[in-house]
């Protein structure tokens, strides 16, 4: 076997994570703030009040800064596919390429047209045409997100494709199955609604900053009212879609759920861990006498119910998933990791035989073996069952951070709505809301950590682990690019924060119009 250095896998992952997380600083604010500014402009068109126009314009300005800083940060990810993840890029074929190409073309045309009208067209187009452009800008951005998330969802739950051993690529056989797979739909709804939450937190946070400073009172209160309603609505949808995401991973990625719950030994009537502390250094890949939790607070039956909609439902833990032998929902018996690894090796071996075969008979036999064992193809690259266990503490804590903050955001928006104008009297509440701004990013990034760290070691669930997906590059060159990005991105981030801070400090131009 041709050895792949594990540090190459780690550095390739680190580099991708860095660029993706940096990109994800901008995307959710675009999606969330975009809707808020469109709502503000809708209020302007409906009421005719100049105040709402200036309010919309101010949030549009911040949207523009964020958009400009976010442009092209995603391009690096696409470069990385070609360089660091070349086997993966080839193997996924048009399944990944098609959605990304649609996204690129659509985004370019929608954004270059409607954004231009939104910023340049205030005195040139009618109020309604302008409003339509604003909504189309944000709808375009949201549709772009759809295609990217379709590609991501396919990696988590590959459907609608067939593997072609002649080209060594997957080919799309059912576009609708790929584009509307249940995982893609839920992922889209959760990602977009959680981005709305982030946008709403940003708006109430900036508005409370003005209140703290005693500036732009009417603007701040009006913005808080609109954003708190929108945020509450979005946060409730986020909680609901988050619950559906949990069901999805219970069905399609049970190891991710086990890691997120710190569930080593599964069973029926499983409790949900509401909060807990894991024993540092605990081994999650093998049975041991130690309790893996230092402390935990549980809700009885809740995990069984969330995962299966049945209080008695069976939820496999890490050990069960590695050892197999339990009953699956379709009444078949789960295979052990060893068995899946064996079948995976048979599939890979059959692929090699198929490609080397000179006569039709050998080819046909190899093809039959490959097809029979293809669902376990990726397991053939694993050296030991323990590799199937993702980093448990990171997944576990990230999941809790996201969910706890999800509950906090609901309380925050509801609290702001209940307080109404009284928020102007409570400085500490205003400060708390300002300090909440970074927490929205924390929750959103934690969500991606759960989704992506929790699915390790897979690039494509069950079909291709990272160790097979990466290009055999020199570790040093991957490290170099990692640090180049780190410096570059930090500089860009400082620039963005500077420009954004200046625009916020300058404030909206509503004071002349609000009186």
């Amino acid at each position: 076997m041709d050895a792949i250095d594990s540090s190459l896998v780690d550095w390739s992952r680190a580099q991708f994570a860095l660029t993706a997380m940096y990109h994800w600083l901008f995307v959710p604010l675009t999606l969330g703030l975009g809707v808020v500014m469109a709502i503000m402009e809708t209020l302007y068109v409906r009421t005719g009040r100049e105040f709402w126009k200036q309010t919309a314009k101010f949030w549009m300005k911040l949207f523009g800064i964020n958009f400009a800083m976010g442009v092209a940060t995603g391009i690096i990810l696409e470069f990385e596919f070609g360089t660091n993840w070349s086997n993966y890029s080839w193997f996924v074929g048009d399944i990944f390429g098609a959605p990304l190409a649609i996204e690129g073309i659509l985004a370019f045309f929608m954004e270059s047209t409607f954004i231009a009208v939104m910023y340049f067209g205030w005195n040139k187009v009618s109020k309604r045409a302008h409003l339509a452009s604003t909504w189309l800008t944000i709808i375009g951005a949201t549709i772009s997100a759809w295609w990217i998330l379709v590609a991501n969802a396919w990696m988590q739950h590959p459907v609608g494709m067939e593997f072609n051993p002649d080209t060594v690529r997957n080919e799309m056989v059912d576009f609708a199955a790929v584009a509307f797979s249940p995982v893609a739909v839920v992922k889209f709804c959760h990602t977009v609604s959680s981005s709305w939450v982030l946008g709403a937190v940003f708006v109430v946070g900036v508005s409370c900053w003005y209140l703290l400073r005693g500036r732009h009172r009417e603007f701040a209160l009006s913005s808080i009212r609109v954003a708190a309603w929108f945020g509450l609505f979005a946060a409730l949808i986020t909680a609901h879609t988050g619950h559906q995401s949990g069901r999805d991973i219970a069905m399609y990625q049970p190891m991710k759920l086990a890691a997120a719950e710190g569930l080593y030994e599964g069973g029926t009537e499983q409790a949900l861990v509401l909060g807990g502390l894991l024993r540092p250094g605990a081994d999650w890949t093998a049975a041991s006498g130690d309790d893996r939790f230092l402390l935990k607070v549980e809700m009885p039956y809740a995990l069984s119910y969330l995962a299966t909609h049945d209080l008695q439902g069976y939820v496999p833990g890490i050990r069960n998933l590695l050892e197999g032998g339990y009953k699956l929902p379709d009444d078949s018996v789960a295979l052990s990791a060893e068995e899946m690894m064996k079948r995976g090796r048979m599939a890979i071996d059959a692929l090699a035989q198929y490609r080397a075969a000179a006569d039709a008979e050998t080819k046909a036999t190899a093809l039959a073996t490959l097809e029979e064992n293809f669902p376990w193809f990726g397991y053939g690259y694993l050296k030991s069952p323990g590799e199937l266990v993702p980093p448990v503490p990171l997944t576990f804590y990230s999941f809790r951070i996201m969910v706890v903050l999800g509950g906090y955001f609901i309380a925050l928006f509801a609290g702001l709505l209940l307080l109404g104008q009284r928020v102007t009297r409570w400085k500490w509440a205003q400060l708390a809301v300002v300090l909440t701004i970074p927490l929205a990013w924390l929750a959103s990034q934690a969500g991606w950590v759960v989704a992506e760290v929790g699915r390790q070691p897979w690039s494509i669930q069950g079909l291709l682990p990272n160790v097979a997906a990466i290009s055999k590059l020199d570790v040093g060159s991957v490290q170099t690019t990692f640090f180049i990005f780190l410096i570059l991105f930090t500089l860009l981030l400082v620039a963005e924060l500077g420009i954004m801070g200046k625009a916020i400090a300058a404030g909206p131009e509503t004071d002349q119009t609000s009186a």
Partner: protein, 104 residues
């Protein structure tokens, strides 16, 4: 819709998006439409304030990403035509198969 308008429908749509109107006796053709749309963008760019800084940042960033990073740090790993790429990936994928080293 009159036959006159329907022939020019695509032009009218483009113009409407940009809030532009053609006078009655003006003929619709690609050049006129294009120049009016370009003027819309040029006027818009001219009247920008903060936008100028943002465009500078975008251009610098695109330059760094494409001219520097793409060329020096991200050459495509797989070379050649589709057949060669398929060959290379299949060789990699079969070579990397694991041997059981830690059977349980």
């Amino acid at each position: 819709m009159s036959p006159h308008i329907s022939g020019h429908f695509p032009y009218v749509v483009v113009l409407r998006i940009f809030g532009l109107r053609m006078s009655r006796n003006c003929s619709y053709n690609h050049t006129v439409i294009l120049s009016r749309v370009i003027r819309f963008y040029v006027d818009g760019f001219r009247s920008m304030t903060l936008g100028r800084t943002l465009w500078c940042i975008i251009l610098i960033k695109l330059f760094i990403m494409f001219a520097v990073l793409r060329v020096f740090f991200f050459p495509s790993y797989l070379q050649g035509g589709d057949e060669e790429k398929g060959e290379a990936v299949s060789a990699e994928l079969t070579e990397r198969m694991a041997q059981p080293i830690n059977p349980r």
